[in-house]
């Protein structure tokens, strides 16, 4: 019998329909994609090709190197075709019954490494450095009162909307509005807290640790779980074990541990199904500058818990899913977990 499962935070129902033939070995990553640099075209993200990109916003540099030249370890540049732009003022207005504003915000690319490597080929040290740079960028963008939220994400592989150049990088988008998906989580978490006086994510972590059926991997400070109401085969969330709502306030001493666990989860799934396309997204609390305003998310510190979501793109999401936010997942998260642990022994 198929099962309907409800995401405890946002209330989204998912059909876990293993009867449609959901065996883990059915989910194979698509055949390796060609690296799309035809005819000796140069990768704009590699060291030495700095002139191919817009001038850098920030870079972690070796002593003695100069801006927009080689000698960097992590480099942040504006997006070549930015969706939101940092210049100008935010202009909100109405158009009849509709509301709109100009797209003021930030859109940056964080290049993880000067070498032409894929995300999972990064060393622990390099991954840690690039994560630290991303955190520095959020800290900097918080100073801009027009930005309410900073979204960090990776798109890897063409099915996931990744570019044809396979040089490890992440994108960072600062928006002038709170994002709907995150807001849903904030509302759900707040409701749970009002009822139980506990953080829902902390409760989920406790329950997953005691049942152990959906724990993908664990490190000293972080845990990776296959969520109970997973939308996609091999969907995985990475959460800090200790309660915290703001990713950018993370104790920097814990970043290497986070880098380790993230790499481990990725490599485990890769071993089970091959080089898979995925999206990797950070969900964290929005900036809270108006805390003095009554009722303005003043409980977030207690009720919300930041996390990363790793979403492998292995199944086609059909109209049914788009139009209803009601997903059919042909692989139970317990089976995904089992498959991953079997492969790695």
């Amino acid at each position: 019998m198929p099962e309907l499962r409800r995401d405890p935070v946002v209330g989204r129902w998912v059909i876990i329909s293993t009867e449609r033939g959901g065996r883990p070995n059915q989910f194979k990553a698509p055949a390796a994609e060609e690296e799309g640099l035809p005819g000796g075209e140069k990768c704009p993200f590699c060291e030495g090709n700095e002139s191919m990109t817009p001038p850098e916003i920030y870079a972690l540099r070796k002593p003695g190197s100069v801006r927009n030249g080689p000698g960097w370890e992590v480099r942040v540049i504006p997006s070549i075709s930015p969706l939101l732009q940092i210049e100008g003022n935010l202009d909100r207005h109405g158009h009849g019954m509709y509301d709109l504003m100009n797209a003021r915000g930030a859109h940056e690319i964080v290049i993880d490494t000067p070498k032409h490597l894929k995300e999972y080929e990064l060393s622990r040290d390099q991954f840690t450095k690039s994560m630290n740079v991303a955190i520095d960028r959020i800290v900097d963008l918080e100073k801009d009162p027009g930005i309410k939220y900073v979204l960090i994400f990776r798109n890897y592989g063409q099915a996931a909307g990744g570019g044809h150049i396979k040089h490890a990088r992440m994108q960072l988008i600062g928006t002038p509005v709170n994002l709907k998906r995150v807001k849903e989580e904030l509302v759900g978490a707040k409701r749970y807290y009002e009822y139980k006086d506990r953080c829902i994510y902390c409760d989920i972590i406790k329950q997953e640790l005691s049942s152990a059926k959906r724990v993908m991997a664990e490190s000293k400070h972080f845990i990776a779980i296959a969520p109970f109401a997973a939308r996609f085969p091999f969907e995985t969330w990475i959460l800090p074990k200790e309660h915290s709502c703001d990713f950018y306030r993370i104790d920097r001493a814990k970043v290497p541990d986070l880098a380790d666990l993230t790499q481990l989860v990725y490599l485990k799934i890769k071993k089970a199904i091959g080089d898979f396309p995925y999206n990797f997204v950070l969900h964290t609390a929005p900036f809270r500058r108006d805390l003095h305003k009554k009722g303005y998310w003043d409980t977030i510190g207690r009720d919300y818990h930041w996390h990363f979501e790793l979403l492998p793109i292995l199944t086609r999401v059909a109209g049914f899913e788009w139009g209803s936010a009601f997903y059919i997942n042909p692989l139970a998260p317990e089976d995904a977990c089992k498959a991953v642990s079997e492969v790695t022994g």
Binding site: L4, R20, M97, I328
Partner: protein
């Protein structure tokens, strides 16, 4: 500079790209191979699965001669038999996967998708949707009926033969619930239906309308999430698709067929999805909700940004989409 537009129903903000508007040449349609060899939905294979209902020109049930045929899905996501059991597992909730999953074969012709059907053929498909909606709502276990179509592999279709699907659910899907909540909030504030207000503004501006019939209007919504997204709404307020009056069926068929034909004419047979959003079963004819059809061509890849944020990027402003769609010359059938 690009624009952020807010959906007046759900409050979702989307980015409409104005800096670098996508060209028609930016969208490449995937091929739609058509090989009727071994197709379970073509004439002569009716024994594969007994029909629930069919509209026929000749012949007894489960034989050739039908024009539209409704079957149970061979690989159902939900099962019709069984009791609806709800239980909690600590912090989690679940229920048994009870529901109906049916396939509507749009036409016996393996080679013509909906965009190529005649108005009369399309009308029969709408009749089948309506008949199944009315029948399934009597089952007290169900709260919602979803009718949708996936065309093309990238839209999630696993079979070539033109078909639509129906799923009856014991819960209300999240997006529909959000629409209902948003529409009800708007109604509390204005005492008007938000969809009726949208129709009024679209009629006034006439910038995004692509079909304007006696009973139905189709337009590219101001806050389109996808390039060339189209919505079809009944002009007169109505919350539930199953309450559609008989004399409106032909107008709906014409609207849907024309929208799909315009899309095909302009974009070269793109993969697409459409879905009927209606109010939940057991609801009365509510003042605050308005049923409609959402058509979503699959032209761009949805990336992590959209998944993680619920914040969509649309590279074609709906005003331009509507203008381009209207430029297509239609063949009246």
């Amino acid at each position: 500079m690009n624009e952020l537009r807010r959906d007046p129903i759900t409050g979702r903000w989307n980015i409409v790209v104005l800096d670098k508007i996508a060209d028609l040449s930016d969208f490449k349609s995937e091929p739609h191979p058509k090989d009727p060899q071994g197709c379970r939905f073509c004439y002569g294979n009716e024994n594969d699965m007994p029909e629930i209902i069919a509209h026929r020109k000749y012949g007894p049930p489960n034989s050739p001669g039908w024009t539209v045929r409704v079957l149970p899905n061979k690989y159902p996501a939900l099962r019709i038999e069984g009791e609806l059991i709800k239980e909690g597992l600590g912090v989690f909730d679940m229920m048994t996967g009870v529901g109906a999953h049916e396939v509507i074969i749009d036409t016996p012709d393996h080679f013509r998708d909906m965009a190529d059907l005649s108005y009369a053929e399309m009308e029969e498909v709408v009749w089948a949707y309506l008949a199944r909606s009315i029948d399934l709502r009597r089952d007290k276990r169900f709260k919602y009926i979803l009718i949708f179509k996936n065309y093309g592999e990238s839209a999630g279709a696993s079979l070539e033969h033109p078909h639509s699907q129906l799923i009856a659910l014991p819960i209300v899907p999240k997006i529909v619930q959000e629409e209902i909540d948003g529409a009800s909030k708007y109604f509390d504030y204005k005492e008007r239906c938000v969809f009726c207000d949208m129709l009024r503004q679209e009629q006034m501006e006439k910038e995004r309308i692509i079909y304007d019939g006696r009973y139905f209007t189709a337009f590219c919504p101001y806050v389109s999430r996808f390039s060339y997204e189209i919505w079809i709404l009944p002009k007169k307020h109505q919350s539930d698709f199953a309450l559609l009056q008989r004399d409106c069926v032909s107008c709906l068929a014409k609207a849907l067929r024309d929208c799909l034909a315009r899309m095909k004419g302009l974009l070269g047979d793109p993969s697409y999805n459409f879905i009927i959003h209606s109010s939940p079963i057991n609801g009365h004819d509510r003042e605050d909700y308005h049923w409609h059809i959402e058509i979503m061509p699959k032209l761009t890849k949805i990336a992590g940004f959209e998944w993680g944020s619920g914040f969509y990027i649309n590279p074609v402003p709906p005003e331009i989409a509507a203008k381009n769609l209207l430029s297509v010359k239609l063949v009246e059938k």
